[in-house]
């Protein structure tokens, strides 16, 4: 190994540089500053973690408080889904597409029931407050819907192993993310507890018209990855807006 030789000129040049060491006081202030920054970040993360834990812990209770009509309605959807896939042999992609947002739309009624019942003001003052309650209900409905969609996808593959998995996946992800986002947007501005029924009807009509119209059917069948990603992105953006809205809703809520 060769020893590294530093050019004397460079060495001189380097030596001409003096480093200003900070004095004690400066050092202390910097350390204090850094310390003040570190726990802040940690604290923020910790508070995010506890609030996420709270929402998850509360979702079990919220689920138990759901009205039986939510579960009954979903059983009906599931039953018709299974029937149409097995007995009536409908197009699996279209069937998945139509079924995908239904549990969520049916669940909006539960998610927003505080508003409809006139309990939001009280819930804002509870330890687990209105925004945590709404978040917990969203979580229940969202996860339940995901579960249903996964189950039907599995069923589709069972019925016809020749189906393309990625296409099945896209068939339900788009309505699951985008249609639910739009439905929730409409629902938030509706004061009526009829919101789920109204939106479900709209969705039925939409699906019926779509299935009757070859052009839209074609469009759906020919969705490529890029177009699908655009739809899903749009859905994700709508949901981010919703989540921000829900988080701040105890201070800017309904004109209070």
């Amino acid at each position: 190994m060769k020893e590294i030789q530093i050019d004397p000129e460079i060495s001189e040049f380097l030596n001409s540089y003096t480093i200003d060491y900070p004095n004690e006081e400066e050092m202390e202030t910097s350390i204090e500053y850094i310390l003040s920054q570190v726990p802040q970040k940690k604290k923020r993360f910790a508070s995010f973690k506890t609030s996420a834990q709270t929402i998850i812990a509360n979702s079990l209770r919220e689920m138990l408080m759901f009205n039986w009509t939510f579960w009954a309605l979903n059983s009906v959807f599931l039953f018709f889904g299974i029937m149409s896939l097995t007995v009536f042999q409908t197009d699996p992609y279209l069937t998945l597409f139509a079924l995908a947002p239904m549990p969520f739309i049916a669940g909006i009624f539960e998610i927003l029931k505080s508003q409809h019942a006139g309990l939001t003001e009280l819930e804002m003052t509870l330890k687990y407050n209105a925004h945590q309650i709404v978040s917990s209900r969203l979580l229940v409905v969202g996860v339940f819907n995901l579960f249903i969609n996964a189950a039907i996808t599995a069923l589709c593959l069972q019925v016809d192993p020749g189906l393309i998995f990625s296409k099945l996946l896209l068939s339900w992800t788009i309505p699951y993310v985008l249609v639910s986002g739009i439905a929730f947007l409409i629902a938030m501005s509706m004061k009526s507890n009829m919101v789920s029924s109204v939106l479900l009807t709209v969705w039925f009509v939409f699906c019926y018209v779509m299935i009757q119209t070859p052009v839209t059917q074609e469009f759906l069948m020919q969705l490529n990855g890029f177009k699908a990603a655009a739809f899903i992105m749009a859905g994700v953006i709508i949901w981010i807006v919703h989540i921000v809205k829900i988080k701040t809703f105890n201070i800017r809520s309904q004109g209070i």
């Binding site: 019942a117 006139g118 003001e121 804002m124 003052t125 330890k127």
Partner: protein, 290 residues
Amino acid sequence: MKLTLENVTKTFGDKRAVDGVSTELTNGVYGFLGANGSGKTTLMRMLATVSTPTSGRITLNGNDIFQLGDSYRDLLGYLPQHIGYYKHFTVEKFLFYIASLKGMDKHGAKQRITELLDRVNLTEKTKVKIGKLSGGMKQRVGIAQALLNDPKILIVDEPTAGLDPKERIRFRNLLSEIAQDRIVLLSTHIVSDIEYIAKEILIMKNGRLIEKNTPQKLMEGIQQQVWKVQVNDREVASYQSSYKVGNMVRGSNGVELRIISERKPAGDADHTPVNLEDLYLYYFDKEAGA
């Protein structure tokens, strides 16, 4: 415990619903008295963290209540002026649900619910759906939910609305019993609700806190302006048009009027001990509540 309001203001557009309220509240019952639209609800909502002040600060023992977040809400019991219910829930289920949202465990909640349903006289309705209850019963469910977590700060906005006189007395007794070691804020336009239990009365007018004092002091303050005068039937109308007239008592020789006035309304008028209704009349120029 000390709740401090520093120049608390809430505006809706141009409207100043609460206008620069500064005060300090410690343990005991505070009665907020004010006409409709005077800002009681808006102020209570801020104290219950339902809405934030447009400007000013509310602190508990020096800490901003909005910063305290759930550790403040943990101390809070709140009955909104207008409250709804999940109609399909039974009374018991509703109270259990609220208890769990207040972070209470199941066992503690059960005991507390039994106890409170007894206190608000609803034990027989435990298993009844809330949708089937009368307005007064619903209001009592509302009172019970506010008390579930044994709140150190109890805020009740017109809690006696819809209660019959007997229930009102029950409620008043309940409050005075628990008020020793907590802050109780009660708004009303019915003076008898707070007559005997309020440590202090806060009088709101057009969003401003115009008086805050013990009932005794407030009444002493207007002692020189409360009169009693005997008139005959024909004179009543003319007195009513020129003075604030409170109670009228028909006697054998005409009518005895209570009059709020800076100057003596008649030669034979006498001073008479002040009551809270006179106070209300003095500030609000309106019929005092029962």
